[in-house]
Every structure is written in C-alpha cells, then in structure tokens.
C-alpha cells in the first residue's frame, strides 16, 4: 500500500511494446472469488443442518454469472484495467452474502440475504453500466457542480422522512429503504476532485501568509468551505456522525494532496478535534457512543446486561485465532444491526483473527490498487478522483472496523460490500467501476497501441 512500485512502471514502459492486459489473470482470480463464497455457503449449511444447502448450485451459478458479465464488460471496454479490483469486489460481496445468509438462519422471521442479492445484482448492473457508458473518467469533471447539487439534494432528502433508530439517514420507498448519503459520497468525491484539480494552484500559492500557514483568498476558499460546512451540518442534523467524519476526512486528504500544504492537515485535525469535542459533549446520541467506547462493560456492571459493543467484543474474542467455523458462532447475540454495522463481528467470531485479517487485507489491497491507479495517471482530476474513491473505502473500513472492535467510538456505518444495506453495496460497485475505468486509462496510456 505504500505505492513504492507504482512509479517503476513509468521508466520501464516502452511505447512500442504492447502491455499485457492481464484479463486472463482477472478471470482466474474471479473463479477463486466465486468458489470461495460458494464453499462458505456450503460450510454454513453443513454446520447448521448437516447438509449442503439446496440453493448452493444456484447461488454459485448466480454469483458466477454476475462475475462473468462484469468481467466481459471490463474485457471489452476497459481492457487495461487493474486485474485485482473486480475479483476483490466479487469476493467481498460474496463473503458478505454468506455472512448475511448465515445470520438469517438465526432470525427466520427476518431474511436479509435475498434482498441483499437483489441489491448486489443491481450494483453489478450499475458497475457494467459505468464501465460501458463512461468512456473516459475525465467527462465527470464537466459535471462537478451538478454533482455537488445532487449530493446536497441527496443529503437533505432524509430530513423529510422519519428517523430510524435515532438517525435520519433513510428514505423509505415501498418496501425498500435507501440511504441517499451513500450515493452522495461518490458525487462529493467527484466534486472535490474536480474543484481541487482546477483550483489547486490558487489554493496552494495565493493569499496571505500568517506565521507558517499560507491562507488562501476568500474567493477560492469560500465555496468549498461553505459546501463542506453545509454537508457536515446536514449530517449532524441527521445525527449520522460516521458519514460526517468520512466526508471530513475525504475533504482533508484531497485538500492536502491537491495543495501539498501540511497546514491544511493541521487545520483539518484541529477542526475535527473541536468538532468532536463539541458534538461529543453536547449531542446525547453521540455522547452515549463515546461513553460506550470508554466503558464498554458499564452496562454489565450496572446490571443491565451487555450492550452492543460488549457483545461485539465478546464475539470477536470468541473467535480467537482460527474462529469457531462458519455457522458455529453466536454473534447473533449482538441483536440489532448484527447483519449491518456489526457484520464484521460474525466474521471475527466464525473466521477468527486469521479470517478477519484476510478480509481487512483485501480492503487494504483494494485501496492500494486505487492509490496506484492515481499515481500512474498524469492529470490531476483523475489522480484526485481515484485517491478520493480509495480513501472513501479506507476511511469507511477504518471507522467501522475500529468502531466494532473498540478502537474508536462506534459510529453507524456500512462495511463496504460486506454489510447488509442496498445503497451501500450499489455505491461501492460504482466506486469499483470508476476505479476500473481510471486504472484502465492509467495503464493504457503506456501501451504503444493506445492513444498518447
């Protein structure tokens, strides 16, 4: 993930030589990425009922067909794309489906896996659409202000819908609930990348200098700070601290990379600390989360039984090094949100530290490939966009994993691809599609057959 090998591609690439496209590698990895979840699916059935579940073949065929269609789209429209991105996405999505199916067995009245499968199909459909329709990621730069308008609209929409479990982040339409904030992430990343790519020199070099900080002019800084304040304000109103932190982190990273000014990071961290202190002290919902984090077993001492975080820690610890095996843990004791926010606890208990580390490393690899695609590009928008998209994944993984393992205060957020939640899985497929598109551009520019 350090990206040290990324720029070795530049000096060694000789324009006349045709680059290997590595589509065969991708196909081979996809086969593994489909077989592993199918194996997991069978393991759950064997552990719970002693027989291979009847839908195993159908499930494998369905996942395989989706992977194959996605692969064909990539092979035709993005032949130079990074061969690791798609298999990682398929594998994570497959593992997520297995874990949700496994938890469904404990809650026969509430089955989430079929819905999740529908959303995954929709996500792969959108993945194919993006890969096929977006011929060049640079066209997105033109829609920067449309993106930000759309993002704000999406973020504001849930205010008009009733709160669910203390957070106003859902829109309920028919039987489906949608989290518009998930889609807003991509749109905001597009806007930030586009705006910063256009104005990075102004942000970096103009304006007054105060002590060691170079302050930009209000004309440049105004719009971006306004939009940031607005999005964060909306999120605090909706009590969704996780997404708020994600946007803020994304903003700081992109600003730093675009301008190269460490001062921005200092200002950002200071703002974050102030915000966290204020919100943590004033907002009861957030305050209770911080109390839970500091004293996860306080409710046990108070005689009220273990809280969610305590149950989550129990689940992780029950997994130990090698895990109990799929279907043999008791992570359902977590209760509410076991399939969404706390899905990782099931992975930790049943797959152990070994399986959990493997999953975290898969995310690490996904992020690394995103960073690498950005490094290989020469134009700033693509660089910032791929960096932003990869950072979204990285920050989400850190915030949710750190939250459920007691490293940082818990904030409700979906683990990319793993957790139950349609909006999240669809958004992540779009993110992967954009990374595929960017990596295709990044690598094809070095190929003798591609336009310069």
């Amino acid at each position: 993930m350090t990206g040290t090998t990324a720029d070795t591609a530049a000096p060694t690439a000789i324009p006349a030589v045709r680059l290997p496209r590595r589509r065969g590698t991708e196909l081979g990895l996809l086969v593994l990425a489909v077989l592993l979840p199918v194996y997991g699916y069978c393991a759950v059935g064997l552990a719970k009922s002693g027989s291979i579940p009847p839908g195993a073949a159908g499930y494998g065929a369905g996942l395989g067909a989706l992977a194959l269609l996605a692969h064909l789209a990539v092979r035709i429209r993005a032949p130079y794309a990074d061969p690791l991105l798609l298999p990682i996405a398929v594998l994570l999505n497959g593992i997520g489906l297995v874990l949700i199916y496994r938890l469904d067995l404990e809650t026969p009245a509430d089955r989430a896996a079929p819905t999740q499968l529908v959303w995954s199909t929709l996500g792969v459909g959108l993945f194919i659409a993006v890969v096929v329709l977006v011929r060049d990621h640079r066209v997105l730069q033109r829609y920067a202000y449309l993106s930000v308008a759309g993002a704000l609209l999406l973020l504001m929409a849930p205010i008009f819908f009733p709160a669910v479990n203390g957070a106003k982040i859902w829109i309920r339409l028919g039987g489906f609930s949608i989290q518009p904030g998930e889609f807003a992430k991509v749109l905001l990343a597009v806007f930030f990348a586009s705006y910063l790519a256009a104005n990075r020199h102004a942000l970096a070099y103009t304006g007054r200098r105060v002590w060691k900080l170079q302050l930009p002019t209000g004309r440049v800084l105004g719009p971006i700070v306004a939009i940031w304040l607005f999005s964060v304000g909306v999120l605090v109103l909706e009590r969704d601290l996780g997404t708020s932190m994600l946007f803020f982190g994304l903003f700081v990273i992109l600003l730093y990379v675009a301008t190269g000014r460490t001062g921005w990071v200092a200002v950002g961290l200071l703002l974050a600390a102030l915000g966290a202190f204020a919100v943590g002290g004033l907002e009861p919902h957030v305050h209770s989360r911080i109390e839970d984090w500091l004293h996860p077993f306080a409710s046990i001492d108070a005689g009220q039984g273990p809280g969610q975080l305590a149950q989550s820690l129990f689940a992780f610890s029950a997994g130990g090094m090698l895990g109990t095996g799929l279907g043999l843990g008791h992570s359902i004791l977590i209760g509410f949100a076991a399939k969404s926010d706390f899905i990782l606890a099931t992975a930790g208990e049943e797959l152990g530290l070994t399986g959990l580390s493997a999953i975290i490393l898969l995310y690490g690899l996904l992020v690394e490939r995103g960073f690498r695609a950005g490094l290989a590009l020469r134009e700033p928008f693509g660089r910032l966009l791929s960096l932003g998209l990869a950072s979204i994944v990285a920050l989400q993984v850190f915030v949710i994993t750190g939250g459920v393992t007691g490293l940082i205060p818990l904030t409700g957020m979906a683990m990319p691809f793993l957790a139950q939640g349609g909006s999240s899985v669809v958004t992540n497929w779009i993110i992967v599609a954009l990374l595929i598109r960017i990596s295709d551009s990044a690598r094809s520019q070095y190929d003798g057959t591609a336009p310069p």
């Binding site: 990273i253 730093y256 190269g260 610890s317 029950a318 008791h330 152990g352 995310y363 700033p380 990285a394």
Partner: protein
Amino acid sequence: MTSCIRRAAIVCALLLVALLVNATRIQVFQAGSYEDNPANRRQAIARYAQARGDILVGGTPVTSSEDTGEQLRFERRYSDGPLYAPVTGYASQAYGTSLLENTEDEVLSGTDPLLGPIPGWNDLTRDRSPGGRVVTTINAAAQQAAYRGLGSRKGAVAAIEPATGRILALVSTPSYDPGRLSGNGDSVKEAWAQLNADPEKPLLNRAIHQTYPPGSTFKVVTAAAALEEGVVGDVDRPTDSPDPYTLPGSESRLSNEVDDCEDAPVRYAFEWSCNTVFAKLGVETGLDAMAGMAQRLGFNDGGLTIPLPVSASNFDTKMDDAQLALSSVGQFDTRATPLQMAMVAAAVANGGSVKSPRLVDRTTTDDGSTVRTAGVRTLRQAMSPSTAAQLRELMTGAVEEGTGSNAAIPGATVGGKTGTAQHGVGNTGTPYAWFISWAQADGAPEPAVAVAVVVEDAAANRAEISGGGSAAPIAKAVMETVLNLRATPRPDPRRDASAGGRPAHRH
C-alpha cells in the same frame, strides 16, 4: 503531488496496521477475560447445547435431560427429585449447581479432559465430549426406606458400608424437587426465592451440612477413648460414680433420667445411657485422649469430601473439666453431622478402622467405559480392634437389653446407641432424637451397614421424644433393607408398646 499521495497512502497503511493490532489484542490477548465475563452467554450456550450426563443409583439414572429448544437447550430433569436431592443437588441454568451436580460437573457437562479420546483433544478441536455418567454408591431401597421413615418429620439419615466407606443412603428432610430450579425462567426464580425463604430450609443437606449436638450417641466415643486408655478395665465392674454428679470445679449437677446409675458398671451405663457415669468417665480419660479419639473418628476435620464437602463436626480441644464432662455426653460445644456419627458407628463395626466415606463409585463416559474409579481408602485406625470388639458388645447390649430395643432385627446382630440431645437457650428447644447403629446378618463375616439417624422435631410433645422411640425404627428399616431381611410390612414399631420394655427412658 506524488509524494503527497505516498504520504496519504502511508497514513492509510498505518490505519490498517492499527486495525490489525487492535483485532489481535481483542481476539488473542483479551479473549480469555472476555470469554469468562459472566455477561457473555457463550459458555452457557455451549454448556447447555448438549444433554447433561446422568447420575445413576443402582444402575438406573435418576436424572435426565430435556431438549427445550431454547437458546440454552438442555434442562435437567429428576425422576425422583426430593428423594435424591441430598445426593444429586440441583443443576440450574440460573443458579449454578450444588452437591454432586457441582462436584462432578466436569464429567457431567463433558468438559473433563479424561472424557476425550486423548487429553487435550477437545481443547484443540474446540469440541466437547458427550456428558459422562456418575455412578453413585447409593442403595436405592435403603434410600427409600430412610426417606419413608423420616416421612413428614425434619431430620436426616446417613448410612455407610463399614468395610468400604460406601455411602448407602443420604437423606435429608424436608426435601425439594431440584427439577424446579433447572431452567432460567420466571418459575425458576420464584421457586428459588421460595425455597430460600422457607423456614424449614429444604435446600439444606442436613446429613452432611448440619451439625447437631450428638447427645448420648457420643457416649460411644467416650467409651472408646476410656477403653483405649485403659481407664475402664472391666465393663461389668461397678464404677465409682455419684448420682447426681457435680461437675468438677462448679456447683452444677448432672443427673440421669434412669434409675440405678449410681456406681453403675459401664455396660449398664451404656445400655441405659447414664449421663453421670460417662461424664465422670470422660473427665477421668482426660481431654487429650478424648479429643484424640474424636479427631481420629473424624471430628474437627473441615477438609472431608465425599466428594461433597462435609461440614466439620466439632469437639473442643481446649476445655475445663466441667466442660469436658458435658462434652463427654455429647453436650456443650460438641456437634456432629449425621454422617460423622454414621462414621463413628462404622468404625466400631469395622474393627476400629475408619474408611473414607464416599458417594461416587465411579464415573464413566456416556457409553459406559470407566473414567475414574474410587477405591477403598482408610482414613485412620481410630481404636484397636479389641476396643472395637468391646464396643460392639456394648452396643449390641443397648439394642438387646437397653434403650435401643426398637432397632432389633430378627436374623441379625444389631448394635446401637440412642441419644436425645438438648439444645436451645436453657435447653428449651425441641430435643433432637438420635440413633446410631450397625447391623450384621447372621452368618455374615462382618457388619454390612452402619446408620445414623437424627430427627429434629420428633413429636409435638417433648416427653415423647427419644432416640429409641423416634430414630431407632428408621435406622432399623434402613438396616433391614440393606441386609435384605425386610419382612412383610409390620405395624409401626413406634406404636408397639411391647418393644421397649422401659419406655420412659430418654437417654
């Protein structure tokens, strides 16, 4: 820009490392303490996920497990709960375990490493062996006889096979059905609260956890010490005993409830339970010899396990002569569990050798292969075989001639000693009726059973309470059952006026 991207990548890598380190902390280093947290239900779920092994009496399980289909799946059931409660105890999902369910829990719940194919195997596979079985030494018929004998009265019975220490009956009344405590629901909570609040203390195992003043049954110990020390040469020679006896160094006088105790020989004093003779005899024997004999027989031992931990019986080791005189007739601070007094009778019956009493014959896996077998273990030689033989003679006399006539069994030699222990402030409490005895079938090489019976509230009328009247018939029923000499049901011997001969005797 490139170097900035690299730095951002390094930050992401550090975040990832932080996640992995933290996951290792939780899943490896903290795992043990989280697993043992009482609020973590996983251990309970695993514990109740399989049927609990059974406790066997006479080859037949007296317990079973029922699959409730709940999160904690299997619940304990008892086929004859109140009868065997002083043996099995309870196995409750809400309130833990007691007695054999407690001490043999590892075998019953399948966690005992010896149940696995090789030691350590289950730790490796994270598996649990099927619950093993506990085969008790209890004789079902004797247990029933004792339980029926006590009936609705409060009391306890302990019966031992003298030569081996096998416990044949362990009964405590009033009893309770441990099955009421098995689950974890509201009815269990209510039952728990009710049983604990009950003034009759049904959860108390009186046979091993309640000490009583042993009263005149302790004269067996006093006689043993006196004979062993040579204080008494000939049991038929008259002793120099005043009646009443003034306690040394005090004005208090000890009297008898029977006649002819003045200067009575030890045999007469034993058969008719003369307090004066034995009080003086205890003082003559001396504190060291008395305490030594009591301790060799098991008094003052808080570490006895059968494997249930048995409460220590008490004989003070620091007393003045007046206190020693009272202690020698089982009063003052002297206290004994029914099991302890059964051990005294068993030692006499077994030539002075005290065998370690035990309730578990062996433990086996669920398919019956033996895990552990308990062997006969000699605790101590409490007295010489000749002293034991003299004592057997005295005890036999007490049944044939004296206060214990209600325990006589045709076709067997029975030795016994009655006791009626005063207690409470100013001895105002309802006295405890005691009887300890042993029985040897005619033609048998050795006594097959030793019994101790205590009845707490033998009768509403104090005057009717006596060891011979209330407790002896119960001991007799148990001994008959063990010797297999039980004839067709007969009229209640307590109502049989001709049995006693001198029904007024109380000691």
